[in-house]
Subunit: 214 residues, 2 copies
C-alpha cells in the first residue's frame, strides 16, 4: 500500500502481484492469493466449457455447458474482485487500533471499531470460501459433461477451488479468534465446516473422475 | 499463441493471464496454471521469511530463514519460468503431427518426432511437480520457525505447493499415456508417486501445525 492507496493488481503485470506477495508488505497475503488461486481454477472450468460449446459431438450438453460457463465466469470475476478486496480487508482493524484511548468513551469507541474491523476482515475470506466452493461444483460438471480432451483442466479446476477454500478458511479462523460476537463466530465456524467438507468431497470426486478418463 | 509467437505472460497484466486461461486458446492450460499456483505458494513462504528476518525475537532462526528465503525465491523464479515453458510444451507434438507421412521413411521420422515431443510435453509438468514439492518442504520450515503472526501464509504456501504438484501430475500422466518408451514411463510414474505422497504428507502436516498456532 503506497501513500496513494493500495496497488490495483488488475492494472499490474503478473510478476508484480507475485513479487508483492513474496515481499514483507502487508498485502497481498494468503487471503488474496487464495482468491487468485480460486480465480485460476474457475478460469480452467471456463476453458473446458469453451472447448465444448459449439462442437457437434457435444450438442446434447451444449445448453448445460453454456450455463456452467456463465456461472464460472461470474465466480472468476467475483474472485478477481475479492483478490483486491482482501488486500485492504484488515485495514479497518489497523486504523481502529490507532484510535485514541484516553477516556472511557474513547476506549469503548475504539473497542467497537476494532471488533467491527475484525468482522470485515473475516467476512472477506469467508466470501472467498463460498465462491471457491461454487468453483468446485462447476468443475465437477465440466469434468463429467465437458470435452474429455480437456478433462485434466476440469480436475485442476476442482483442486484449485478446494485449495482456495482451505487457504481462505485459515484467514477466517485467525480473525474469528479475536471476534467477541459469539453468534457471528458460531455461525461463521459452522459455515466454514460445511464449505470445507463439501470442497474436500468434490476435490476427491472430480480427481477420481479425471483419472478415470485419462 | 499469435502469429508473432507465444504471449509472454511476464509482460502481461494479471487479468490477461486469467482471461487467456479461461478462453478456448490452447495455452495457458492446467500445467501452466499449476506452475503459477506453485509460484504463489513459494511467494507466501518468502513473505513469511521476510516478516521474520531482521526481527530481534527471531535472531536464533535468522540464518536458517535466510537460507529458506533464497531457496523459496529460487523455486518461485523457476515456477514462473515453467508457467511460460508449459504454454509451448505441447507445440513439438503438434508440429510433429503435421509432418508428411507419405513414405515409410517419412512415417518413421514423424513417429519419432511425435514421441520426442510427447516426452518434452511430459517433462515440463514433471519439473513443475518437482519444484512444487520443494515449495511444500520450504513452507514447512517457514510454518515451524517463522514469525507466528504469518503462520497462515506458510500453511497456504504448503497447500498451494501440493495443489500445484497434483495438478501438474495430471498433465504428466495424460502425456505418459501416449509415450512408447517403457523405461521413461515407468521411471516418471514412479517419481510422480513419490512426489505426490510426500506433498500430501507435507500438506497435512503443515496445515495441522498452522491450525495449532492460530
Amino acid at each position: 500500500m503506497s501513500e496513494q492507496g493500495p496497488t490495483v493488481y488488475a492494472h499490474e503485470a503478473l510478476p508484480v502481484y507475485l513479487d508483492d506477495a513474496a515481499s514483507g508488505k502487508p498485502a497481498p497475503g494468503g487471503g488474496s492469493v487464495s482468491a487468485c488461486v480460486g480465480a485460476l481454477g474457475a478460469a480452467l472450468t471456463s476453458m473446458v466449457c469453451n472447448l465444448t460449446i459449439g462442437k457437434e459431438q457435444f450438442a446434447t450438453v451444449e445448453t448445460r455447458m453454456k450455463e456452467v460457463l456463465v456461472a464460472s465466469e461470474a465466480a472468476r470475476a467475483r474472485l478477481q474482485e475479492l483478490l483486491q478486496e482482501d488486500t485492504t480487508a484488515y485495514s479497518g482493524v489497523l486504523v481502529a487500533y490507532r484510535l485514541p484511548k484516553d477516556t472511557p468513551e474513547q476506549k469503548a469507541a475504539r473497542h467497537k471499531a476494532v471488533q467491527d474491523g475484525l468482522i470485515i476482515a473475516a467476512d472477506v475470506p469467508l466470501e472467498i470460501c463460498r465462491v471457491a466452493l461454487e468453483a468446485c461444483r462447476l468443475a465437477k460438471v465440466a469434468a463429467e459433461l465437458g470435452n474429455a480432451n480437456a478433462v485434466t483442466d476440469a480436475g485442476i479446476g476442482a483442486l484449485l477451488g478446494e485449495a482456495a477454500a482451505v487457504g481462505a478458511a485459515l484467514n477466517v479462523r485467525i480473525n474469528l479468534g479475536s471476534v467477541e460476537d459469539e453468534t457471528y463466530v458460531r455461525e461463521a465456524a459452522a459455515e466454514l465446516d460445511e464449505i470445507l467438507a463439501e470442497a474436500a468431497a468434490l476435490r476427491a470426486e472430480v480427481l477420481a473422475a479425471t483419472l478415470a478418463k485419462i
